[in-house]
Symmetry: C2
Subunit: 249 residues, 2 copies
């Protein structure tokens, strides 16, 4: 038998913040790998599952560095798990990792599999009630990698289409204006009393939720660990539950 | 101690079709309930987990009947699991179940928790590569419960906003024109060679995937067990992987 060239990479979504959300498929892939690559916070979440394995962790924002390290290990014939929080395919590492693998000649590439996980938008929706039961749009407000004009156009289109809108990365210490601008744009299309759900630290110890309105929601505490869900014209709130009905009304 | 009035309802997303996707949180809720309510196909998926429990299963389309049965059991002090495939909060049972509970006087309501699951769009994206790595919109093409004019407007807005667009319920025996109309609308905004991923029976034994183009994809087999993902202007295909990059290009 000839030795297989290149190892194996699994790009794994860990879920939003608790091992309670980790799928058996993802857990098995973690158990079967011999190298784990990820942002240090996510490595900590799974440390009991990966004892004795080689761990390559970096701070935030070093995605390309992490993917490069994962690829190097795979090319040394290791089985590598690249971990993201939430779903690796939703603002996670899957795209960048695949792009890097595809730069290699086809006969030198490691095998690769993307393993989906529960994303923050889903866990947040479950905490709020059922705000995503009808059509929705998912938008990141971070303009680090995307021109703000593109983001603004998306907000406008999602608002015009009466989508429920979920915002990832709504605000950080340095980025404070985007969520205000998003509010202004949506107010051109929707009523001031449109429900807005705000979930912080979903699936983590200090999880909290607030249900506010399009008029007032930006007065609530919002940071990078917050998910904001703006209701459609049909979304309603009753006794602390935020619901977008599926039925014709 | 006074006896607690009303039982407990967990609305549970089972994932797209394999127990490999079932979160520990969902599994524990299934193990701890004494009544399980769901569409017969999904009950079958979990039958080994729910042996000995009372099972109320119905055919498709009887959602209201199932929710009513779940509520009746909960009001008899049972712990009830209402199961959906995918994520209970995305075109699942969470909205209807909550609406029905909220119709009761507040002191007669069972406690309720929604437990998120991996949705078909995520599992399909993972099979295709990383098509959802940037902003996306999720639209159901079923006009059973939604006026077609609303759906068409959403398709147009999502296309105008250059969202990656995921279509649930793209086509059935009776509904064959909607996906063709969606294609026509998107073609007003995007190139004919825009990648389109088609995944059938995701996470099930007969899973298949095809990557086509906006011009040609409706020639592929598409049914109610198919998820269609239309790329944005930035989405590309290479060696069988469909990727929407996150980075500025």
């Amino acid at each position: 038998m000839t030795k297989k060239l290149g190892g194996d990479i699994k790009v794994i979504g860990l879920g939003p913040g608790s091992l309670d959300d980790l799928s058996p498929r993802a857990r098995r892939a973690l158990e079967n790998c011999d190298v784990v690559v990820g942002y240090s916070t996510y490595i900590k979440l799974i440390e009991n599952l990966i004892e004795g394995k080689k761990i390559i962790s970096t701070g935030m924002m070093h995605e390309a560095e992490r993917c490069r390290a994962a690829l190097d290990c795979a090319l040394d014939d290791h089985t590598v798990a690249v971990v993201s929080s939430g779903d690796a395919g939703i603002y996670g590492m899957a795209g960048l990792m695949l792009e890097m693998i595809l730069e290699l000649p086809i006969d030198r590439r490691p095998t690769v599999e993307v393993i989906a996980g529960i994303s923050a938008v889903q866990a947040s929706a479950a905490i709020l009630g059922a705000p995503l039961t009808h059509d929705f749009a998912v938008i990141s407000l971070s303009d680090l990698l995307t021109d703000w004009s593109v983001i603004e156009r998306r907000i406008e289109c999602a608002a015009a289409g009466d989508f429920v809108i979920a915002f990832y990365n709504p605000k950080s210490h340095k980025r404070v204006t985007q969520i205000e601008r998003a509010r202004e744009i949506i107010l051109k299309f929707r009523a001031e009393d449109t429900p807005v759900g705000i979930v912080r630290n979903v699936s983590r110890d200090n999880q909290s939720k607030t249900i506010s309105t399009l008029e007032n929601f930006t007065r609530e505490p919002i940071d990078m660990f917050t998910l904001v869900i703006v209701g459609s014209s049909k979304t309603f709130v009753k006794d602390g539950f935020m619901i977008t009905p599926r039925l014709k009304q």
